[in-house]
């Protein structure tokens, strides 16, 4: 296990380099020159040229990439175009809001999703099951911004019970977390139900029931534990996505997170911020997938990594 982990961690390095090259090429392939964006329509061509030189935009792509890579290895991710602040500082401002939202959103999604999935599986093909699965289908299909706006319209505007956005203390978390949690819960519920149905109908569970094992122990200790594989995977994927900043929810709630930052940076072609964000998102995804593998090995001791 230890050697497996070491190998997985070492694999991160070539993956990240590969991602950074792709991200770099991709961003520079988009039409739009940041020097022109910064200079604006009133500046002279001389200013545009000077800005290009100042930010190294006139150098060959390979040279620009090389400087980026060398600096990144030293922990320098450049300065943000426009406001001239270190990229790490800007991303630092936006990091915790997204992590907090991801954590609580996923937490809510797991609690509701796994719970609903288990109940559906245990009472499968009953009215309860159909209701839960229909709600789950709705949760997956509703556009995130629509649900978010409906929640704001009802709880913030009509009832004045909760803030409509921003970060005014813990009450600001409630609506965004519900928005994120419901769509996450929907997919987790479906996967949980599926996986639980497989284990609940398996031979060893039927044997256990025949032997007189208590039903709750059967469901939770035997069936659920064995059903955990796909459930952990979907939770891991959800976590990876959420760490990338749920862009739509962040924009609607004016949540100062990484998703919002990505949008504004792309609009202004803020290359240093975009590149660093893409690297960060890939790293988060890779780590989330590593955590999933570790969790899977813990839950299922028969799994051997070598």
């Amino acid at each position: 296990m230890a050697s497996y982990l070491v190998r997985r961690v070492l694999q991160i390095i070539p993956t990240i380099i590969g991602v950074s090259i792709l991200a770099f090429l991709f961003i520079h392939a988009i039409p739009g020159n940041p020097a022109i964006v910064m200079a604006g329509p009133n500046a002279s061509t001389q200013t545009i040229h000077n800005l290009s030189v100042q930010f190294g935009l006139d150098r060959p792509l390979i040279e620009q990439y090389w400087y980026f890579l060398v600096n990144a290895v030293h922990g320098q991710f450049g300065t943000s175009f426009g406001d001239g602040q270190p990229v790490t500082k800007i991303i630092g401002y936006h990091f915790m809001p997204t992590v907090e939202l991801a954590f609580f959103g996923l937490g809510l999604a797991v609690v509701i999703g796994v719970g609903a999935g288990i109940i559906s599986a245990v009472r499968r093909n009953s009215t309860l099951d159909y209701t839960v699965m229909t709600l789950s289908m709705m949760g997956v299909s509703f556009p995130a911004f629509w649900l978010a706006m409906m929640l704001i319209a009802l709880f913030a505007v009509r009832l004045h019970a909760l803030p409509s956005g921003g970060d005014a203390g813990w009450t600001s978390f409630i609506l965004p977390v519900i928005s994120l949690g419901t769509s996450g819960a929907a997919s987790i519920a479906r996967f949980t139900r599926q996986s639980m149905v497989t284990t609940l109908t398996s031979d060893y569970v039927r044997t256990g029931r025949a032997k007189g094992v208590r039903e709750s122990a059967l469901i939770l200790k035997h069936a659920f534990k064995n059903a955990l594989g796909p459930i952990i995977t979907i939770i891991g994927i959800q976590f990876g996505f959420l760490l990338g900043g749920a862009v739509v929810v962040e924009v609607v709630y004016a949540w100062p997170g990484l998703g919002n930052l990505l949008i504004t940076s792309v609009e202004s072609r803020n290359y240093p911020v975009i590149q660093t964000l893409l690297l960060l998102f890939s790293l988060e995804f890779i780590l989330a997938s590593l955590l999933v593998d570790i969790a899977y090995a813990i839950v299922n001791p028969r799994v051997r990594y070598d």
């Binding site: 039409p31 200079a39 609607v252």
Partner: protein, 519 residues
């Protein structure tokens, strides 16, 4: 004992009386204001140093912190700020300012002519790569004539020099902070003279300004304790925040949401005129658009009144000149009344009886695409087939500010607001031959020698009568040559809580918060 108590009591009474007396003598201000006003705008500021600013949102934040020698008040009237008087030379080759002796930086030090010189020298230094250097590049020399008298000499006659100093980019920054460099000042706008000072900026989250306790002008001191700016990109999120009271003011308000907002109790929706002219620029160097008859035909083919009603919800005014009526020296240059039959006639006369096909570039905001679709439909009625190509701002800028744009650009729906409020800046960057992209914003690639010479006449003199005559002729010429489909002048729409007053969006679309007070 009793005498002591009596004396103590007497002392107390005298002391309170003295305190009361000094408080009252200290002016109309009672206790310091405590209210905070939170303003939600459509995005975050970019850079808060006026010398390096292009967008009205950042200018709006800066207007609380920095002041120029002269400036525009909320009614877009040119007024003295740090200068109490000025003289423009008759040959328009120099301007002299006399500073207000009361003017102070936020740290209490006096604003001197030397400070002004150092500040503008920093702006003019090409090594600083500031985006606003070009606007002031006509200044060739700055002379300190006295402790409160500073003279700017110009490299050539420039009749529009006074409005240029009133532009929000013409701020005076305390020289001692300039050494910290542009990157620092972009994020930490210190060294100003205005009624507020900078407290903090968390990019993407908020900007906080607090009342300047050392402000030098009691006549317009801050009536609130602090301003918080929040970037809220989604319009309905801004409106929801205003309705819940989280925000005290929001801008902009999309015109289709005005009615529903007006009906909410506790909310005040305000509409003001702007100096933003909206038009479709037509490339006068390419294809059918080379022909003035074609361009006039397209003007007759678009129903401007319906455009204002449908695309702007009625919140706009007609545009009867390339210069909007709010700008100095604007005239009513003519009318292209809606007349599709005449449009077809002119097209036939020009040799296009069956119309032609062309391309319209536009930004990708909802309103821009709506406007472009409207124009496409109108032009289809006279046989002109328009392909609409929306692009995001950065792509559009890159497509325009390149030497090949003269070949690739056909039509572009866009707007322009002259931040100097003067006909020169409403005309020269948009229609002078020297302003062809990538230099400036002459998207019509209009190149008319007579027009250029009229613009130069307007600049050669500082005398208003001479400038008025030149610009009147220039506007009539540009109207007749129709390098644009002239559409309209948009209104500014903003909203506040009913108990929050004194907030105005100025005609140049800069939101002014410094006059705010809470009832």
């Amino acid at each position: 004992m009793q005498i002591r108590r009596f004396l103590g009591g007497l002392g107390g009474v005298l002391g309170s009386a003295a305190l009361l007396f000094t408080t009252m003598a200290g002016g109309a201000q009672a206790a310091a204001p405590t209210a905070n006003v939170t303003v939600a705008l459509s995005g975050d500021a970019v850079c808060l140093l006026p010398y390096n600013t292009n967008d009205n949102l950042s200018f709006g934040v800066e207007s609380n912190i920095y002041q120029g020698l002269v400036g525009y008040n909320a009614k877009m009237q040119l007024v003295g700020e740090l200068a109490k008087s000025w003289t423009v030379a008759a040959n328009a080759k120099s301007i002299t300012f006399n500073l207000n002796p009361a003017a102070r930086f936020s740290d209490g030090t006096k604003v001197t002519a030397q400070d002004v010189k150092e500040s503008f020298t920093f702006l003019l230094n090409p090594k600083n790569n500031l985006v606003r250097t070009a606007l002031y590049s006509v200044i060739s020399q700055i002379n300190v004539l006295g402790p409160e008298t500073v003279q700017f000499q110009l490299s050539k006659p420039f009749g529009a020099i006074l409005p240029t100093f009133a532009h929000p980019a013409g701020a005076v920054v305390e020289p001692s902070v300039l050494s910290k460099g542009v990157n620092y000042l972009c994020a930490n706008p210190v060294g100003g003279t205005g009624p507020f000072v900078f407290k903090d900026w968390v990019q993407g989250d908020h900007i906080t300004l607090v009342r300047n306790a050392n402000y030098w002008n009691p006549a317009n001191a801050a009536k609130i304790a602090s301003i918080t700016y929040k970037p809220v990109a989604d319009a309905s999120a801004r409106i929801a925040g205003l309705e819940t009271g989280q925000f005290q003011a929001i801008y902009p308000v999309p015109n289709e949401l005005v009615q529903s907002l007006k009906s909410q109790p506790g909310i005040n929706v305000q509409v003001g005129s702007s100096n933003a002219a909206w038009y479709v620029a037509m490339n006068t160097q390419q294809g059918p658009l080379k022909n003035v008859l074609v361009r006039q035909a397209l003007n007759y083919a678009v129903d401007k009144a319906t455009f204002i009603n449908v695309v702007w919800g009625g919140y706009g005014q007609p545009l009867n000149s390339p210069v909007p009526p709010a700008d100095a020296y604007a005239i009513n240059a003519g009318n292209y009344n809606y007349n599709p039959a005449k449009a077809k006639q002119l097209l036939a006369k020009a040799g296009y009886p069956h119309g032609f096909t062309t391309v319209l570039w536009v930004g990708n905001s909802t309103e821009s695409i709506y406007a472009a679709t409207f124009i496409q439909q109108q032009l289809a009625q006279v046989g002109v087939n328009v392909k609409v190509e929306p692009m995001d701002n950065a792509s559009l800028d890159s497509a325009i500010f390149t030497p090949t744009a003269v070949k690739t650009l056909r039509m572009n729906y866009t707007g322009w607001s002259a931040s100097t409020g003067d006909a020169d800046w409403a005309l020269r960057p948009l229609l002078a031959t020297s302003s062809w992209p990538p230099s400036l914003y002459n998207l019509a690639f209009f190149g008319n020698k007579q027009f250029d010479s009229l613009l130069q006449q307007g600049l050669n003199s500082g005398a208003p009568a001479v400038r008025a005559k030149a610009y009147a002729a220039a506007q009539k010429l540009a109207w007749q040559q129709a390098p644009w489909i002239f559409l309209g002048v948009s209104d500014n729409i903003w909203a506040t809580r009913s108990n929050v007053k004194g907030i105005v969006v100025r005609e140049d679309e800069v939101p002014l918060i410094y006059g705010a007070y809470v009832q």
